[in-house]
Symmetry: C2
């Protein structure tokens, strides 16, 4: 799939077929909403595909708990979108009582990038503070840094998974080659161990909420799980968060293209103001003919991350009819991000990651 | 190098050249014996080659301690020869005050063989009891089972080593292929971490006493050490212990060809009686023309493992002249092994491996 498309050009039904995943259909949404609050990510279609999510829900509603694994490859900055994903993970904890495991793959960052061991460790801890600032319960949430508190069981699972995975498989699925380092070649086994740890430890099926471009890692884990006597994890796959310029994929390596929680308010204002707009060419034309909200990056951010369904419908309609301008939409988005940023940064100061260590 | 040779056909000077290692020469032996007890393994030429052992000795005699790393791939049974290697390690501890680290690569056995996780773990612990029965000091000896008490620093060093080692390198040096599992591909990095752990933790240069067929693993570690800011380990390389049938290499996979500490006394007696003999074809002829002690397996065992130099010289001479028969030599060897076995098994019962855990 070509990731250089504009975000509104992506065919998710085509992606579904390519991935061999199932659609998150109305039946699944009804199953959730009958007994639980339905998160915006479900309602808005942000999570659009799944593997065995229906199975996991059926088990859950028969009384069997599940765990959520949501890993983090530490990076200098954290996208707003990633924090919003972890906010969703917290919803799963609050609403479904799920145990949450957040492994930080500082080792993988170190293996894959030109950064030092110390920097990988530092980034992991710094990232953890932001994620935990969302308010996870210390009783039901554990974090692990591979470089700081790797767990014996996790290591053992990784070796079991590695025994069942050939070099050929990793070459074919991850594009590794003979000039790759042997850590990168091994790493998918460690990632499988991250995902399968709660299943091993608690006997619970795991749910992995993940961007659809990360699907390949979970697929490998799903292949290996039954071979080492563990339940296959379920996944739900999210759509891409559009980049500032409107491309399908926001990239951490292009800092001008993503909005980071640590960006200054000035930086955020600037980036939001440059967001690809679905409005008319001029304010005059916009007022006269209206805009295309589905092509507007700011509205897409608002829709997925900051508005409820009613608010979304109203603002989309107003934009379509030219009653609200691109500038006004961007101002609204800026205010929402500003509020979110303030809340997180305040909470981050009080966050003690030691309480969460596995 | 062809390992199916008879043990007395092996050219160690040729091996030296092939390996690019240095000879353990008289100068080195003198350096040791001037201030320390010279172990039989040095005196008898059992350890015949080295890398940077002279460097390590020079540093030591200037007041810098060294550590010894001697790993163990757990197996069902332990060769007498392997126990004797660990007895030598204990000599380094007693005589040089060396810190000893014994990592058990249960994970590697599991990855490489058709055995279960539980079996790999059990074998490791069982093997550890035998090795520790030799009388290591709990204060200066640490053991680690990768599957039981893997150390965070060891894991981190393995990732650092992995980053500096390509798949191509492992393919070329270890014969791994695309159909190898990714654990086996990664494993040399873990082995490097085992070897380098005391250097990382204590800042000491490491000495690895190892069979010459294991040299390739240490070579990889020597390549990677400076790339991750650690001192290269020194090695000393031992000759092969002949098999019962007189082949150059005793093999754990051929149980009739090696003498194991857990063999019954009957089994040991039987194996010793079948040892390839350098004696005359009949007792008559032996008495008349004498034998060739250098080709006698039992005498080789006696020489390396059970006799001092004077005793060796006398018995070799007597054998050469037909004054002592093959049967008498074998009886002597049996008595020596029996005594050794009794001592070890008695001590094993009192061994508490928990005291030694890293």
């Amino acid at each position: 799939m070509n990731n250089n498309k504009m975000f509104f050009e992506v065919s998710y039904s085509k992606a579904l077929k390519e991935f061999g995943a199932q659609k998150i259909n109305q039946k699944i949404l009804d199953k959730i909403s009958k007994k639980k609050k339905l998160h915006r990510f479900f309602e808005s279609g942000f999570f659009f595909a799944h593997r065995d999510f229906d199975l996991l829900l059926n088990e859950y509603f028969k009384g069997r708990n599940f765990s959520v694994v949501s890993g983090r490859g530490p990076s200098e900055k954290i996208h707003i979108a990633h924090l919003k994903l972890f906010e969703f993970v917290k919803y799963l904890q609050d609403e479904f009582g799920a145990f949450v495991f957040i492994p930080f793959s500082d080792d993988e960052k170190f293996l894959d990038r030109n950064i030092s061991f110390e920097e990988a460790l530092r980034l992991g801890e710094e990232n953890a503070k932001y994620l935990l600032a969302l308010g996870f319960s210390p009783k039901k949430t554990k974090i692990m840094f591979d470089f700081k508190n790797i767990n014996q069981d996790v290591y053992n699972i990784s070796i079991k998974a590695a025994k069942k995975t050939t070099v050929s498989t990793i070459k074919a699925s991850m594009g590794r080659r003979d000039d790759s380092n042997i850590g990168n070649m091994f790493y998918p086994a460690m990632q499988a161990a991250h995902i399968l740890y709660p299943t091993f430890e608690r006997g619970e099926r795991v749910l992995v909420p993940i961007g659809m471009d990360q699907d390949v890692f979970v697929k490998l884990t799903r292949d290996v799980a039954p071979k080492i006597g563990l339940k296959k994890p379920s996944t739900i796959l999210s759509k891409f968060t559009p980049s500032v310029k409107g491309y399908a994929k926001m990239s951490a390596s292009s800092p001008e293209d993503a909005i980071f929680i640590s960006d200054s308010l000035q930086e955020i204002r600037r980036k939001v103001s440059r967001m690809f707009s679905g409005g008319g060419e001029t304010l005059e034309l916009h007022k006269k003919h209206g805009g295309r909200p589905e092509r507007d990056v700011a509205l897409t951010y608002l829709k997925y991350y900051f508005l409820n369904k009613k608010q979304e419908e109203k603002i989309f309609e107003d934009f379509r009819n030219g009653r609200i301008s691109s500038k006004e939409v961007k101002n609204l988005l800026f205010e929402k991000i500003k509020k979110f940023k303030k809340k997180i940064e305040k909470a981050k100061k009080k966050t003690n990651i030691e309480k969460f260590l596995l």
